[in-house]
Symmetry: C2
Subunit: 349 residues, 2 copies
């Protein structure tokens, strides 16, 4: 197996996977895994995937063994619901020499049936929730894990605009290798040792983006957007504190940076879900119309359960849950939140 | 003189002054000062000022003595360049029984001629810079001062949308009286003892809004916006630490909340200034075309001088200064910032 980063793997050919692959191709050859043979064939024949132009240094494959055998460093960028199964499928070819830096913003659930959760038959605690790096550690022999988190809308990266990201890991060498392969004049890579903080910020911000879309759907302007982001950030920090993250993870590029980008982007799935709900569509109608589930909708359910478990006062998240899953009227929800007896503005530092 | 808050004063009939007056009129009679007799007459005759509808509980006057004699609690909401002169004009009628809560987001300069500053003939230090509450203390007998700061775009408040704000003061009674007169189902009022923090956040965020407009003018999207806000916030905190504010002032409603609102609002003067500059207009052309100077342009100069004084590394503010005041090419500025050797993401908590 290659002991360097001349060849880097990306697992997942969604828009963010392709964006990461193109960034990596500035510095390395890239092996890009896609489940779908037609995508693999199109990329290898034309260096394109639909409307997206890909670097000639990217070779596509639909063979996970090919990725694992040829790349010491692998970036999985797949939906949270597919993450565990994909790690399990890769595990026969993964060794302690591999490094995995994932770009997935969501949670994994264990020992619980998601359908039961839907029907309120069970409640969940921290024992049922895994971050993606925890899934890697459970499913593979890989020890050196990290995550990628930041203001990284794929469409803007693919259109050539600059931005920055954060590589977080407990291992200095993971941060360093992540910076080495991703850094370019267009893409600044910060480092952090607070892995759980970066993972929580990335997952929880999708809930706030959903709420932001809802506010926009209700006709609210920038004041409420700013207020939501400030108060939403506080709620994210409360979760972080309970789950072992440092507060500072939430005020940097992967915290506020990503939160502002996602919550103000009208193109994100989470924002769109919230906006359509506010315009009167039902959850079922929106689900049927959107090809991929907005991660925030699932994260909202998990966060609401965790808030109960930790006895957190996170009124935005709890009220949003009642709107999305229990049909609470949105104007009443807003009225409730505006009159919520907040004690102080900032109590989390 | 009235010893209660049945009648509250507002000094300044700009859009934010009118928005505050309307909010106060939910709970109190309001005396609104305007310099211009025609505005006073129009408001008293029609309860309107141009397109803005005002509560019948608002009485206008162009007599500062009228405001000071009839109101124990006064909200000055005027440009920073007019603040000291207005306080001096009010001072004959102001007593230690008065409470002043200002809504002005900028700095005052003393012992320095602003024209000399323009020509780089002098440099300034903290000794030359006053916040608005410091000006009140210098120019009047009033002791109990506070400020109002938050995601409070006047146009949205005037259109009836809900939002929140922060009243900051070293005096508990100032916070309490501010909350009492301003709180309504449409307007949530947080309190804080960190007056300097709230004033700095309010003033410095205008610089980031200017930069945000510039990014938009350059065709950048949400990623760069989120990155700017995250890194800009860090620079705001560096100033705050040197000038005696707590970090937490910058991550609450009056910090991140106001920053996100102002930096993403395409209607703000600061955003407009930055956008037009990026589109190729000169500073002089924009100044000539805009009726009121964007506060951020002046604050940028003062902040750049203070950064030199404190030896702060605030590359966004320093680079922006070179763009606005020294004609540095914007693409080169952006390239410089993207390759700036940032060590760590968050070092300010």
């Amino acid at each position: 197996m290659s002991q360097n980063q001349d060849r880097v793997g990306v697992v997942g050919s969604g828009s963010f996977g392709m964006a990461i692959a193109n960034l990596l191709a500035h510095n390395s050859d890239v092996v890009l895994f896609s489940r779908r043979q037609e995508v693999v064939d199109e990329i290898n024949a034309t260096h394109r995937n639909k409307d997206t132009s890909l670097s000639p240094r990217i070779r596509a494959t639909n063979n996970l063994q090919d990725v694992c055998a040829n790349c010491q460093l692998i970036f999985p960028v797949i939906p949270s619901t597919a993450f565990r199964a994909t790690m399990a499928a890769m595990s026969p070819w993964l060794t302690p020499q591999h490094i995995i830096i994932h770009g997935t913003k969501g949670f994994d659930l264990v020992h619980v049936n998601e359908a039961d959760l839907q029907d309120h038959k069970v409640s969940i605690t921290r024992r049922n929730v895994r971050t993606m790096s925890e899934v890697v550690l459970e499913e593979t022999l890989v020890l050196r894990v990290g995550c990628l988190s930041g203001p990284n809308l794929a469409s803007e990266i693919l259109s050539g605009q600059p931005t920055a990201t954060l590589v977080a890991s407990r291992f200095k060498e993971v941060i360093q290798v992540g910076q080495k392969v991703l850094n370019s004049p267009q893409f600044h890579v910060f480092g952090s040792y607070d892995l759980i903080g970066a993972e929580l910020a990335g997952a929880l911000k999708n809930i706030i983006a959903l709420a932001s879309g809802m506010l926009e759907g209700l006709g609210m302007g920038r004041n409420m957007q700013g207020l939501l982001i400030a108060r939403g950030l506080a709620e994210m920090v409360y979760f972080g504190k309970e789950m072992g993250a440092e507060s500072k993870a939430f005020v940097g590029v992967a915290g506020i940076g990503d939160l502002v980008t996602t919550a103000t982007s009208v193109n994100s799935r989470n924002h769109t879900f919230g906006r359509r709900l506010a315009k009167g569509e039902t959850v079922e109608q929106i689900r049927a119309a959107m090809p991929e589930l907005a991660e925030g909708v699932r994260t909202l359910k998990i966060a609401n359960e965790l808030a109960r478990h930790y006895r957190l006062h996170v009124p935005i998240i709890q009220t949003l849950y009642r709107v999305v899953y229990e049909g609470l009227d949105m104007s009443r929800a807003l009225k409730f939140l505006m009159s919520y007896p907040y004690d102080v503005d900032v109590d989390f530092l």
